[in-house]
Amino acid sequence: MSQSVIDEPISVSRAQVRSQRHNAWFELILRSPASMAGLLIAIAAIGIGLFANILAPHDYAAVDVTQRFLPPSLGHPFGTDEFGRDLLSRVIFGARTSLIVALSSTLVGATLGVVLGVTAGYFGRASDEAIMRLMDIMLAFPSIVLGIALATVLGPSISNLALIIGFIQIPAFARVARSSTLVVKAQEYVVAARTLGQSNAGIMIRHVVPNILGPLVVLASLTVPGAIVTEAALSFLGLGVQPPTPSWGNLVFDGTRFIYSYPLLVALPGIVLSIAVLGFNLLGDGLRDVLDPRSRR
């Protein structure tokens, strides 16, 4: 839920963006330790999610009622939960679930948002009005309400959650895409392309979209942590991923029951979740510093 919405158009030229993209990674590495840390955390999180099968020491669903509530040990570095399941393995697989939901929902939101935003910005007038009103409607809700309502209708499952959270992210992407499109639309190469008779769709795909990627990438990297948190919040309200599949969110939710008897069940997944959210936020900030010349330090 902690997104920064960038509303102002960004004036860059195509060449500038290209060279910036080339230099982006370079500059990131040379830049602040914060962005570096963010990048590393993000890569680690994704890596853990990808290689969960190999990394997890135990089967995350292996119930063993003789091993309940064990404190951390060599065999169980994070201890065990109320069913005797290894908490570390559950956190590792939780990474996979949370990141799948976060990344795919961001993809959904970005794709649909960009389509809507570019259309609105490019065609202007009626479609612009209509689309932006629709976005306003969606933004007028506290996002979690929309999430709850949609989850109630569709039912919780990983794919549904990706769609739901993605849906919530659409307006932010649409707005950024639109304002960037407005700027790009006025550039010489676009005007030239139109004069040459290229189709609107062609122009949008070939000229507009590549040139608005900068702020979109920034927004995407800042949306991922928000999506992780939204999934966690929905799990907290009982609308998250189904048991016994772990996600960071439902691990925290399950753990709150034991806040008196065994607080590690809440604390450890919570810390891991926070670190991941932090990482993506730092990464996003770093990318923004590079890709957005008017960045706020």
Binding site: A62, V65, T152, P244, Y260
Partner: protein, 526 residues
């Protein structure tokens, strides 16, 4: 659901001693004699929906209503039925009950209670606009005023458990004549009765305050000056409140925290058997549960002891048959369900399932009570016999939507459901509502028309429904249990215990099946 909860204590026999529970029920120390005064604060998870006599108030409505509205008979502190608004009664025939009212009972307004009020209440709740008409309409026929302190109630069917029902069911609690016609805009938010307490204040979502009814006929009870029910949704917050003294009593204690509370020095924990049952109902109309072997295998593959120890933290009992041990109808000789994974695997093989063709099904649960935990355990237990269970957690509204015929729902989608089941009226009504061919309701939330085609079971149900002799009924219930096992329609899992807690300042408190303990016995020490 509230009516089920209400009903769940109905069977408590009038003169029979309370049946043994799986762990001794405790009561708070009676050090010293009761002193009058003080305010008791109770933390409960939510408000009643309403206090109106003709609307459904939910589980908490049951509790609050029970304290305000006195019935013709009531419970004492040993779960025995004792006279209340009625001092004596006769039954000249099984369908007629004549109640003699006491002459000194007064409503909290000061008005005397008379037969007119009784007739008004019992008639009014059966009228068309009453949400609860369906229940009382089926067995109350007429209510006649014989004289200002005598009422004649005739029933449609013989109902030997009427007294128990009345003691428990606050909705039979008497309100003043023409109450609903004179309550104006407050009909939902206040009610008047002749019970030990009266409503003083209700701030919805926050707290509800009851004050002593100054005209209550059982002086010096109630000892408490007032009782405040505070809404504390989060069970862990409630525990914090108890420890700090912000609450004196906890309405229900989450089982995973009982251990913590028992170690806390100024806290007393009370346990009692309850009728809170979890069971897996299998939809016999769809695959794979059309096969008897499969159903039996599922039941054999569940380690109920492990579930009680793990999911219920030991505060429960394995379900043996359809009655919990706290009910008088419980028969200790009912065999406990067996856990036999090898036999289960054999049965599955018989039905054509095995390692190359594993049995897969979807188990729907809600998030009520400990069903999600139990579902996880069952999933892992059934995995050991090669069955792959997919758990689908749905919200309560969605779960029961099928049962209530919400347009667009189709019961045929459901394979198996795991739900919490609370007791309904009298035991025979429970078994009847569940398995009778005209009702056939199972906890997948499905009313399957035509019921389960087993003439033996049906005939047993019919006999039990019309029987009234306890000895005969006992035999019938044993046979019903037997037949249910043979048919393997359900896998009954476990009964949870009812656990409550208080600070050590609270005296005279006990746990019953739920929170229906008469608070007029409770007093506070300084």
């Amino acid at each position: 659901m509230n009516r089920l909860l209400r009903r769940l204590t109905v069977f408590m026999a009038t003169a029979v001693v309370v049946a043994a529970c799986s762990s001794p029920s405790s009561s708070s120390g009676g050090s010293g004699s009761p002193t009058r005064g003080g305010t008791l604060t109770i933390a409960y998870p939510q408000d009643p929906y309403t206090l109106s006599p003709i609307h459904d108030g939910g589980e908490q409505g049951h509790v609050i209503g029970g304290l305000i509205r006195d019935r013709l008979v009531a419970y004492d502190d040993s779960e025995k039925v004792v006279p209340a608004l009625a001092t004596s009664w006769e039954t000249p025939d099984p369908k007629t009950w004549i109640f003699h009212l006491r002459t000194d009972a007064k409503f909290s307004t000061g008005a005397l209670v008379s037969a007119t009020d009784v007739k008004y209440t019992l008639d009014r709740i059966r009228q068309n606009d009453s949400q609860i008409a369906g229940v009382y309409g089926t067995y109350i026929n007429t209510v006649t005023i014989v004289d200002p302190h005598t009422v004649n109630i005739t029933l449609n069917v013989p109902y030997p458990d009427l007294l128990v029902d009345m003691a428990d069911d606050f909705q039979l609690g008497i309100v003043p004549n023409n109450w609903l016609e004179t309550c104006g805009s407050n009909c939902e938010t206040t009610v008047v009765g002749a019970g030990p307490f009266m409503l003083k204040e209700w701030v919805k979502g926050d707290h509800l305050t009851l004050a002593r009814n100054p005209y209550y006929y059982r002086a010096p009870q109630p000892y408490l000056d007032s009782v405040i029910f505070r809404v504390v949704q989060n069970p862990e917050t409630a525990i914090a409140d108890l420890r700090t003294g912000a609450a004196d009593v906890l309405y229900s204690v989450p089982l995973q925290d009982v251990g913590t509370l028992q170690k806390t020095s100024n806290v007393v924990v009370y346990t009692h058997g309850s009728g809170l049952l979890t069971e897996i109902a299998m939809n016999t109309a769809v695959a794979p549960f059309t096969s008897l072997a499969v159903r039996q295998a599922i039941s054999l593959g569940i380690d109920r002891n492990a579930i009680v120890q793990t999911a219920l933290y030991g505060y429960g009992e394995v379900a043996r048959g359809v009655f919990p041990s706290a009910m008088p109808e419980y028969d200790p000789s009912t065999p406990a369900p067996t856990y036999d994974p090898d036999k289960a695997k054999q049965l599955l093989a018989q039905a054509g399932y095995g390692p190359s063709n594993p049995l897969k099904f979807t188990l729907r649960t809600t998030t009520e009570a400990f069903t999600p935990d139990e579902a996880v355990l069952i999933q892992s237990q059934l995995a050991k016999i090669g069955v792959q269970v997919q758990i689908q957690q749905v919200e309560k509204s969605a779960f029961y939507g099928v049962m209530f015929r919400q347009p667009g729902t189709d019961y045929r989608q459901w394979q198996a459901g795991m739900a919490v089941y609370f007791w309904t009226t009298v035991p025979r009504w429970y078994v009847y509502a569940q398995w009778d061919k005209n009702e056939y309701l199972n906890s997948t939330g499905v009313n399957l028309p035509g019921g389960y085609p087993d003439p033996t079971l049906q005939s047993l149900l019919d006999q039990a429904r019309s029987g009234s002799n306890p000895a005969t009924l006992k035999g019938l219930y044993a046979q019903i249990n037997n037949q249910l096992n043979t048919d393997a329609l359900y896998a009954l899992v476990a009964y949870q215990q009812n656990v409550q807690a208080s600070t050590s300042k609270v005296h005279g408190f006990k746990a019953f099946f739920e929170f229906e303990y008469p608070l007029r016995y409770v007093w506070l020490s300084k």
